[in-house]
């Protein structure tokens, strides 16, 4: 029996998802090696979902130490974790989620990692990166044909963006067949319409993420876009500029700064400033676990699609509306 085949125990454990995405997808997941960069609130959600689905291995890369604040936002930590390396501190509870997955904590800084490090993974999932890191890592991934997805949670807002390069996929579509059939004896027999499942293949090109998160040098031709795309860009710019995220403690100054950044961005993309509700800046502070649960669910599902090649993935940006909680794909090219 070859290694790639599922055991009876695995078939039983993963039964309810195999019934959704099929045994082929499950076998691809079983062979997948996933890198998760940063395991904070959002990262813990992604880790949970991706461990439960039954991948081969998960490497958790995070050089941060656990703060008192963090234990309230990350269910994989406990009060005793404070002061320890976070990648190592989550190991016990992460492993409990699925004993079949090999989990490797890595406490080095993401900036110390080179191209070879990223090349060995099937998919790289990242959170909390600044633009420079995103562009560098996504380039390594692109060169090595490793699927890459990155996302963040800012208060009630969340997003993700992905580079799956050239992504081939298939979906099962239901077709109705039926009508009349002429039998061998020449008689016409009624055939009840039957639902048959057909495999439909597709191919998708993802753009380099520099086209998604790097601001243009000169004003762009106006384009209809989900307004939260610009919020995402503003938050990334803020992170790049201050090397931190907006904080409640410095809300007033941070919002002022964000507004200025946002104004510049809207000018560059020639967006009518009235379309951007500034109240949204009240909603972008801290990590909100239920939002992490949503965005983490979306990102993990996209990673599963990246690995299995089943179902239509989001190409390339996902944006969660912080007011009404709708979630949409935005195709940025």
């Amino acid at each position: 029996m070859s290694e790639s085949k599922l055991s009876t125990a695995e078939a039983e454990l993963y039964d309810r998802q195999i019934r959704l995405w099929g045994i082929e997808s499950q076998e691809k997941l079983r062979a997948a090696n996933v890198l998760l960069i940063k395991i904070r609130g959002l990262g813990s959600e992604i880790a949970k979902d991706i461990l439960l689905c039954g991948i081969n291995s998960l490497t958790i890369l995070d050089d941060a130490l656990v703060t008192e604040e963090e234990i309230f936002k990350n269910f994989l930590l406990s009060p005793e974790s404070v002061g320890k390396n976070i990648a190592e501190a989550v190991l016990e509870k992460a492993q409990a989620l699925n004993p079949l997955v090999k989990i490797t904590p890595d406490s080095e800084s993401v900036d110390k990692k080179n191209a070879e490090f990223f090349a060995i993974f099937t998919v790289v999932i990242a959170t909390g990166l600044n633009s420079v890191q995103v562009l560098e890592i996504s380039k390594y991934c692109r060169d090595a044909k490793v699927k890459f997805i990155c996302g963040d949670n800012f208060g009630m807002f969340g997003y993700s963006f992905a580079d799956f390069q050239t992504h081939e996929f298939f979906e099962d579509k239901v077709q109705l067949t039926g009508g009349q059939k002429r039998g061998i004896d020449g008689r016409i027999t009624k055939v009840k319409s039957e639902r048959t499942v057909v495999k439909v293949c597709g191919k998708m090109e993802y753009v380099d993420l520099s086209k998604v998160i790097k601001l243009p040098e000169a004003p762009m031709k106006p384009k209809r876009r989900n307004i939260y795309y610009y919020l995402m860009l503003a938050l990334l710019q803020f992170r790049d500029k201050f090397n931190r995220d907006p904080m409640m403690e410095s809300k007033e100054e941070d919002v002022k700064e964000l507004k200025a950044i946002k104004d510049d961005i809207l000018k560059l993309y020639q967006v009518n400033p009235d379309k951007f509700k500034e109240e949204v800046f009240d909603l972008i502070f801290g990590e909100v676990v239920p939002v992490c649960s949503i965005v983490g669910g979306v990102m993990a599902q996209e990673a599963i699609k990246a690995v299995s090649g089943k179902e239509v993935p989001i190409n390339n940006v996902f944006l969660l509306d912080p007011f009404n909680y709708s979630g949409r794909e935005e195709n940025v090219v």
């Binding site: 019934r19 669910g297 989001i314 935005e330």
Partner: protein, 607 residues
């Protein structure tokens, strides 16, 4: 000094932040969504949580019900969920009940203690019940469900929004008995037949689950003549004896059983020539020819793929038929009867083998055991990611309910991303308005029941109409105007009425019944209409909540358009198969996702 770190999201308004640690929350169901909700509540600073679930942990739960581990299999979901949550945060006050929410201990006063009730249930009956309890207690309810990649979160509050039962849910798919017994055309027909055969041989006697040829099939009228009857006179005698008795007398000889069901009965069907004028006729299959047909399959043992995923050869079918029967026979030795269970291997094996042999006989596509299990067990696929999304939405809405920002508690649908749509989560624009004629939440709930008053017994009226269809738990029924107590929730009080027909009780066309369910604090007026089904496909009874819709529905087929629940006359209560819509077909934005039911808490089962 910096404020003490806390799990409560700092981004929320101060008044909501204050309410979170003190608000009492009830989570109904500790399955896929329930586990995620509990985690989200605990990690958002909620400190007063109660969880109730009747279920115990199964291996197939562990791919998403992440509060449980392998060593917890067989234990109470509610209890283990509580322990794991306390392991996340010791400061939470969490109370667990390993119990059914529909029992009388959880009455209106129980529900009134909560600020919000969060449903994470797996079946429509319990959902309906909690809906009524929350209406009666006037407690806000957040209802949720998932099925594969899709899901839904809906806020329900008395007097403000629609209730869970305002829009009748699609009735479960039923098949006419003669399709199952005489003219199957789809794999599911053969699977249903095989389950009935299981019950006939090993289960509790149920005349609605006959598996033999149906001579009353109107399509075969005048066809199964003297000749046909004479020809199979022997097997007719067998019928009268009951299949189970006969099988026991043969001591469950697999060859004899096989030849009866797959050769003799099929020959009899062939004699009903009218049936095969426009259909491909079935081909009888004998034990000896099946046992020698090994197909072109190579043998490979202990391979999940081959055993579970591939369609068995006929030889394999006969082997499994024989071995599963002997195991079931042994199992039956210590019991009065067996109950079909998709997770009991001999039972699933038996159904797989029989369904496939029958499919072959009728030239229908055969299915692997894996596929048969899905169909026979009404299994709805479930994944962690959809549950995570839905439960995140549930707790975000909980924040808004606490702040009484009800107008912002809009229904959200989680949908599968497709090539045609860029939507992953779709939010309604407005709260769903209550149906003024809802038979649950309107001021004077009323429903029309069309039924054969001359033949329906009081006990069947109680079990089929009041409990099964109208989801009552302990109804009291009084015949209006006469003050006659027809049904009492006090045990035995009206036992004398049980076997009387409705007519004998004075319940005739035009009668008004006042029904009161004390537990649900729910009073319903039922207008009785005498009705006799004309065609075999007509429903045996009709329940209509809205008189305005009735005229419309009578034009349509069986009144199913407006979701009136109905059961086919030809096949009363016999066939329940989940009418699962492929998520990809759910193109209509407004289409209500009807979470399907199964035995896991994020799913539904109809069987």
């Amino acid at each position: 000094m910096m404020a003490k770190a806390s799990a409560v999201p700092i981004v929320l308004k101060a008044e909501i932040q204050k309410l979170i640690p003190t608000s009492k929350i009830l989570v109904v169901g500790a399955g896929g969504i329930g586990c995620e909700i509990l985690k989200n509540l605990a990690m958002s600073g909620f400190k007063d949580i109660e969880i109730i679930d009747l279920d115990t942990i199964d291996v197939s739960n562990l791919n998403r019900q992440f509060l449980f581990r392998k060593e917890h299999v067989g234990k109470s979901k509610a209890m283990v969920a509580r322990e794991t949550i306390l392991n996340y945060n010791k400061d939470i006050n969490i109370k667990a009940y390993h119990d059914s929410i529909t029992t009388s201990e959880y009455g209106v006063n129980f529900f009134k203690r909560f600020a919000v009730v969060l449903n994470a249930l797996d079946n429509r009956a319990a959902r309906n019940h909690v809906n009524r309890m929350c209406l009666a207690a006037d407690v806000p309810l957040i209802e949720s469900g998932t099925s594969g990649y899709t899901g839904q979160v809906e806020f329900i509050k008395k007097g403000l929004t629609q209730c869970y039962e305002c829009n009748p849910k699609a009735a479960q798919k039923t098949f006419p008995g003669c399709t199952i017994r005489n003219t199957p055309s789809e794999p599911v027909h053969c699977i249903v037949w095989a389950k009935h055969l299981f019950n006939q041989l090993f289960g509790e006697d149920d005349p609605d689950q006959d598996v033999s040829p149906d001579t009353a099939d109107p399509e075969a009228a005048g066809d199964a003549g003297v000749e046909a009857l004479a020809q199979v006179d022997e097997s007719k005698k067998v019928e009268r004896k009951s299949t189970k008795t006969w099988a026991q007398e043969t001591s469950y000889n697999p060859e004899k059983l096989f030849n009866k069901f797959f050769e003799d009965d099929i020959k009899y069907l062939l004699s009903m020539e009218n049936l095969w004028k426009n259909r491909k006729a079935p081909i009888p299959l004998s034990w000896s020819s099946a046992a020698s047909d090994d197909g072109d399959q190579e043998k490979s043992k202990n391979d999940v793929h081959k055993e579970d995923m591939e369609v068995w050869s006929f030889k394999k079918c006969t082997e499994v038929f024989s071995s599963s029967i002997s195991m079931l026979k042994e199992e039956l030795a210590n019991k009065n009867f067996l109950v079909w269970d998709k997770d009991f291997k001999p039972a699933l094996d038996f159904v797989t083998a029989c369904a496939n042999v029958r499919s072959h006989i009728f030239s229908i596509a055969r299915k692997s055991r894996f596929e048969v299990k899905s169909i026979a067990g009404n299994i709805i696929p479930a994944i962690a990611t959809t549950n995570a999304m839905v439960s995140g939405l549930v707790v975000l809405l909980t924040f808004r309910v606490l702040a009484e920002e009800y107008e912002k508690c809009l229904t959200v649908y989680v949908r599968q991303k497709s090539s045609e749509s860029n939507t992953v989560m779709m939010t309604e624009k407005f709260l769903g308005a209550a149906n003024p004629k809802c038979y649950v939440c309107s001021k004077q709930p009323m429903v029309d029941v069309s039924i054969n008053t001359k033949s329906m017994l009081v006990k069947d009226f109680e079990s089929e109409i009041l409990k099964k269809s109208l989801n009552m738990v302990a109804p009291d029924v009084v015949l209006d105007g006469k003050g006659v107590v027809v049904i009492s929730s006090e045990e035995g009080e009206t036992a004398a009425n049980d076997n009387k027909t409705l007519t004998e009780m004075g319940i005739v066309d035009g009668a008004i019944l006042k029904v009161d369910d004390f537990l649900q604090n729910y009073e319903l007026t039922i207008c009785i209409h005498h009705y006799v089904p004309k065609e075999k496909e007509d429903p045996l009874y009709k329940i209509l909540a809205d008189m305005d819709l009735q005229a419309k529905s009578e034009e349509g087929a069986n009144g199913k358009e407006n979701g009136a629940s109905s059961a086919s006359a030809a096949d009363f209560a016999a066939v329940n198969v989940d009418d699962d819509e492929d998520p990809q077909e759910g193109s209509s934005k407004r289409r209500k996702m009807n979470p399907k039911e199964e035995d896991d808490d994020d799913m539904i089962m109809l069987d």
